[in-house]
Symmetry: C2
Subunit: 177 residues, 2 copies
């Protein structure tokens, strides 16, 4: 996978200093690659992968309100409004006013939405297996670790932590400029 071709074109060697060793690059590249593949599988759902994820949450037996969904899916609440509009127009989800608090809308999947979600869920799992095949037997290990990391980073009570880390780092090595 590495080395030098005969016409002088250089190919990259494993190099700690370059961007491919950067955790941010790894996460970004993996996310982009996945999103591209998922976009094809989920092209029939308004909003693509995000619409699918929203639809997935809407199939829960304890449907969430929009604020919770925005935080959980990492979508801005103003964008979520339009995303729900699109899914509602397509007949996949409905806004159910919470009888206990009429400010809140519980987002619930319709029968049509549940059927579509189930169908695409199967296709998506097949595609994921394709992508993860490169990891061989370690694919399961990878998913388990990624799940731990994702839940940790997505937890709301992590934000305070970030500020603390940033301040610590600034003290030890302040940004030049």
């Amino acid at each position: 996978m590495i080395g030098e071709t005969e016409n002088g074109k250089m190919k990259r060697m494993a190099d700690e200093t370059l961007v491919e060793g950067d955790l941010g690059w790894m996460l970004g590249a993996s996310f982009r690659g996945y999103a591209k593949a998922a976009g094809q599988v989920l092209s029939g759902i308004p909003g693509g992968p995000r619409g699918y994820q929203l639809l997935t949450e809407a199939t829960s037996d304890t449907p969430a309100n929009q604020g919770t969904l925005a935080q959980r899916l990492g979508i801005d609440r103003t964008v979520l409004t339009y995303l729900i509009d699109d899914l509602e127009k397509a007949g996949l989800v409905e806004r159910h006013p919470d009888p206990a608090d009429r400010r809140q809308r519980r987002i619930v999947a319709t029968a049509k939405g549940r059927a579509l979600r189930e169908d695409r869920h199967t296709a998506l799992r097949a595609m994921e297996a394709h992508l993860l095949a490169v990891l061989g037997d370690d694919a399961g290990t990878f998913q388990a670790l990624l799940c731990i990391l994702a839940r940790h980073l997505n937890s709301a009570d992590h934000h305070l932590d970030l500020c603390t880390i940033a301040e610590d780092l600034e003290r030890s090595s302040p940004t030049p400029r």
Copy 2:
């Protein structure tokens, strides 16, 4: 399923059917969490994490042209133009016309750019260790697997693959594994 606290705030338990078991959600949540933390550490660099990654590539002893950088970093080439403009204005990188092909511009870090990159590199590694601490001893394993996946998904010759997979899935939706 779900546990309920006194004021209606919900806490989620493990649930296979919900979005937290979705690979796309895991990748997205991890990427967003990382980007948020990295944005604080790299706030002194124009373009934030993306500027840092570009700067990293510009410190290579075999500087790449813009087209290659766009593909490697997953940035659109029209946006890359402005990103390089900003870094150039800050005196961190320079556009060096390739003497062998004057259409191409090799993006090279200045001494100032290299110093800043080195400093932020250290801070970034500290932050990454903080984020990955939740994985314990498996952090190294996770990074190794993620690196394999990222390189695989970012390789250009993967795109044909995606179309093939998509077509296969449309024909039949078998359950994998």
